[in-house]
């Protein structure tokens, strides 16, 4: 049985497509229309509003809150992480295998918020036993709206008590939106200029209405998960449960990943720490050994895809939405498997067929030519895919701050 989110009344009324989906036990919208394309372009060219409430959220209070998070997650946030900062992070089990990834926001002195794709209350409580910290599962208390796209800043400007031009990338602010208390963070999962608005359940509908009303003249469009899947692949973001698996749910070791295998090395602070994080020793050992996998972006050759379909007298037929069927990735010979591609999409913007893949590190260098499996007319074939830098799409507006010269 699925439960409603705080925005359920609004989102479900607008979803004339009746395309719903289970997201962490909540009703989520896949697409508001028959196609997700309008929502996709809404985000890339104007603004999209998505109910992201099913994300797990934990609020941590107390003098040891930073300590607990720095012990659990691979980042050391006990220093140089002032109020108002947000960071992307990951956390591991004792063997250094990734459990999940999410963000940590420093909301106020002795108040942090962690987001995740899976529940981690028990894990947090276990590691916080001897610390002076209170952990609240705020998942159901808070609604979260992702407002993403080039016009998102203009929309918020209309309704928040804060100069949005000064809001920097990966920062969070407590403010009032149409008189209602909210947290606004400049974060998101689309790789575009964008924000997330965090609000108490009771005020959720009013915040939705305010954003929709103020967004009207900026082309705001409600957006579902189908569009998000295309957007996040263009942004090069992996997804837990698709591109990698939380070690807690893996039956075999081979399925598990380390932060470095997922390209999250930047989020791992190994030096100058007052205390180690969970899994640190294993990760240090791995670094000496070298890791087994590397997460890469692949640009699948469109001319080859076209030629392949041509052999069957077919036009290139690709699903209009992102696809999560994992397929083998081979060396250039098309026979020796060197990894697997786990997420794929046609990028309507870049006119490219994109994949996220895990390959052996020696094949991870940008420019490396590999082969990816592609099925046409029930026959498995291969086409060339070139390793490219992630993100595939990286607009300047994502991180620039107009208020700062």
């Amino acid at each position: 049985m699925l439960k409603p989110t705080p925005f359920h009344e609004r989102t479900t009324a607008l979803a004339q497509s009746w395309k719903f989906k289970d997201w962490a036990g909540k009703v989520a919208i896949s697409a508001y229309d028959a196609h997700s394309e309008r929502e996709y372009f809404g985000v890339r060219h104007a603004a999209g509003l998505m109910d992201a409430s099913p994300l797990y959220k934990y609020d941590l209070y107390g003098p040891d809150a930073a300590k607990l998070l720095s012990r659990v997650a691979t980042r050391d946030i006990t220093r140089k992480f002032g109020v108002g900062r947000v960071t992307y992070c990951t956390w591991c089990d004792e063997r250094g295998h990734v459990l999940d990834d999410g963000t940590i926001s420093h909301l106020a002195p002795e108040h942090f918020r962690l987001t995740s794709s899976e529940p981690w209350l028990r894990w947090l409580l276990r590691h916080g036993r001897r610390l002076d910290v209170r952990v609240e599962d705020s998942t159901d208390r808070l609604g979260c709206l992702a407002l993403q796209g080039p016009n998102s800043r203009h929309i918020l400007e209309q309704c928040v008590d804060f100069d949005m031009d000064r809001m920097r990338f990966f920062r969070v602010r407590k403010t009032r939106l149409d008189g209602l208390d909210v947290w606004v963070s400049r974060t998101g999962y689309t790789g575009d200029l964008g924000f997330e608005v965090w609000v108490d359940r009771a005020d959720a509908l009013a915040v939705w209405d305010a954003l929709m009303a103020n967004g009207q003249r900026f082309g705001i469009t409600p957006m579902g998960l189908d569009a998000l899947d295309v957007l996040r692949i263009e942004a090069g973001f992996m997804l837990q449960g698709v591109d990698y698996f939380s070690s807690k749910s893996c039956i075999i070791e081979a399925r598990k990943s380390t932060p470095h295998e997922l390209g999250l090395g930047q989020a791992v602070d190994l030096t100058d720490r007052a205390f180690p994080f969970v899994g640190q020793e294993a990760i240090e050992a791995e670094l000496k050994r070298g890791h087994k996998w590397a997460l890469v972006g692949l640009d699948v050759s469109w001319p080859e895809l076209e030629a392949l379909y041509e052999e069957y007298s077919l036009p290139p037929h690709l699903a209009p939405i992102a696809c999560r069927d994992a397929v083998p990735v081979y060396q250039e010979d098309g026979r020796t498997q060197v990894g697997q591609a786990t997420s794929h999409t046609w990028s309507p913007l870049l006119k490219q067929q994109l994949s996220l893949a895990s390959v052996h590190p020696r094949y991870a260098k940008p420019g490396t030519q590999l082969k990816i499996e592609h099925t046409v007319e029930y026959e498995r074939r291969v086409v060339t895919a070139t390793v490219v830098e992630r993100p595939f799409f990286d607009p300047e507006r994502k991180r620039t701050t107009p208020g700062r010269a």
């Binding site: 229309d33 028959a34 196609h35 394309e37 060219h45 003249r217 036009p315 290139p316 309507p348 913007l349």
Partner: protein
């Protein structure tokens, strides 16, 4: 002048810029010369009335080749294309017709007119989609010349023949019909509803001096289905900032590869010495030398004005003189104080976020053509309207709007003579506004400014011969190996080191960039630049 370029490109329209970008990307030293102060040619955005940006001439993008977007990294250089939501055919007294990307919704709409048509509509799309692949093969490759007997041309023709065979008997027959029938006759074989057929038939006549019942117009219908097979599900898109931004993104790409671009640099003549182009002379007398000169202007301007008949073989000059332009359309751009609602479907909604076609019936379209045949503009013209401000609010101040209205027929050759178009301009503008007011009763009260472009204006201001938006009619006899004239469809010309890269070359007009890209590739491949 001391500086020598590998290539000078005459004209900074989208094709000239595409050609420049490809050549610069290949390491060539390229100079683009544009006569006007703004880049884009007929793909241009200008703030004609303060605060309101008009996408002055061309206004949508349908066939911009995806490989060009990839190769030239146009998204990185600012290209933002939003697919149009809907094709709406309003009626003065009736419910009108909307065709949506959602097939169920479209079926429902068409069912109100004819249940039979609603059922066959997707099958028609499928057949056209398959044929469009055949046509796409044509637009993405240089035209093969059957008379050349060159092995590569013959192989290419053989490939096309094989494709034709693969279409199967049914589709092969359709393809043949498409090449010979009128748009209306062809559609009559599929559909019964006039309200459905008339907006579908108009794609066969855009930019030609033909009517929807003229033979040969069916072929151009196919172009409509071509954009749908490059992974995107819809053909038409609006560029943020108007079509000028398409040109600007290409210009930025070209400059990032090192191309040099000069505006307000009108070319006077192409320098020809011993049958070879050696550079250009500008209006101000400056001479600029280059190894090759590439013209993105139409064939008439290129050969008869810039080169001069004296440098051309007789047969070729005759061919160019016979090349038909016969511009048949005008453009009206409006700045609006508020949105002019449509009678049959009031309000701002997804139905007006696409293209809106004023063509209530086939007879209406044919009558519009009747006026034109005898040297007058249509009293009740066909119009294709887009409200750019609904798709990109930045095009107009808050709450205000711009309308882009493509109007056909406005024949270049009016009975008063084309040079008398200026005295007919406002009457033409009035006919457009009067007609549209029948669908949008409040339109007249909301107009803050109107820009009326007659075919004469298109010729004088944008250098389009006889105001033809495609640099020459897109009729079957002027396509493929006949564009611009037989034997010279592969971008080279009888003047050595002079090349064509504009819409007057294969595969023709529209904001697709294909002539520019293929000309560049051909020159690089042949070591001509």
């Amino acid at each position: 002048m001391a500086t020598e370029y590998d290539a000078i490109i005459i004209g900074g329209g989208h094709n000239g810029l595409v050609c420049a970008a490809y050549l610069a990307k290949a390491g060539r030293k390229v100079l683009v010369l544009e006569r006007r102060p703004v880049l884009g040619g007929a793909a241009v955005s200008e703030e004609v009335y303060p605060g309101f940006t008009y996408t002055v001439c061309s206004y949508v993008v349908s066939l911009l080749r995806p490989y060009i977007i990839r190769d030239l990294e146009l998204v990185k250089h600012g290209l933002q294309l939003t697919p149009l939501e809907c094709s709406y055919t309003p009626e003065a007294d009736g419910p009108g017709l909307c065709r949506w990307p959602d097939p169920h919704r479209t079926r429902e709409e068409i069912s109100r007119l004819s249940r039979k048509d609603a059922e066959i509509y997707p099958e028609f799309g499928k057949a056209m989609g398959r044929l469009a692949r055949f046509a796409k093969e044509i637009i993405d490759k240089p035209a093969p010349d059957p008379a050349s007997w060159r092995p590569s041309d013959l192989m290419q023709l053989l490939g096309l023949g094989r494709r034709f065979r693969d279409l199967g008997d049914d589709l092969g027959a359709i393809q043949f019909k498409l090449s010979t029938m009128s748009a209306v006759d062809f559609l009559d074989e599929w559909f019964e509803s006039d309200t459905l057929k008339s907006p579908m038939s108009v794609s066969g006549i855009i930019g030609t001096m033909l009517g929807v019942r003229s033979p040969g117009t069916a072929y151009v219908l196919l172009h409509h289905y071509m954009g749908e097979i490059d992974g995107a599900s819809r053909a038409w898109a609006f560029a943020k900032g108007g079509n000028g931004e398409v040109s600007m993104s290409i210009a930025r790409s070209a400059m990032s590869f090192g191309a040099e671009i000069r505006t307000e640099a009108p070319v006077h003549k192409v320098l020809v010495k011993n049958g070879r182009a050696t550079g250009v002379v500008l209006d101000n007398g400056d001479e600029i030398r280059a190894k090759t000169v590439i013209s993105s202007c139409d064939p008439r301007m290129t050969f008869l004005r810039f080169v001069g008949e004296e440098h051309l073989p007789d047969a070729f000059a005759t061919g160019i003189k016979r090349f038909k332009f016969r511009g048949s359309s005008g453009k009206v751009n409006l700045a609006l104080d508020r949105f002019p609602e449509f009678k049959d479907r009031p309000g701002i909604g997804p139905h007006v976020m696409g293209d809106i076609a004023i063509c209530p019936s086939i007879d209406y379209l044919e009558r519009a053509y009747d006026d034109a045949k005898y040297g007058d503009f249509s009293k009740r013209p066909y119009m294709n309207i887009v409200f750019p401000s609904l798709l990109d609010p930045g095009m107009a101040p808050e709450g205000k709007h711009v309308a882009s209205i493509f109007v056909q027929y406005a024949p270049y050759h009016i009975k008063e003579g084309p040079e008398n178009w200026p005295s007919r301009r406002e009457a033409f503008g009035d006919a457009v506004i009067d007609t549209l007011s029948e669908y949008c009763p409040t339109l007249k009260d909301s107009i803050l400014h109107r820009q009326v472009l007659t075919p004469w204006d298109l010729e004088q201001e944008f250098g389009l011969a006889e105001g033809n938006i495609f640099h020459g009619e897109l009729s079957l006899e002027q396509l493929l190996f006949q564009r611009p004239t037989s034997g010279w469809a592969r971008y080279s010309t009888p003047v050595r080191n002079l090349w064509l890269c504009g819409s007057g070359a294969h595969p023709g007009g529209g904001v697709m960039g294909a002539p520019g890209a293929m000309a560049a590739k051909m020159m690089l491949q042949q070591g001509a630049v």
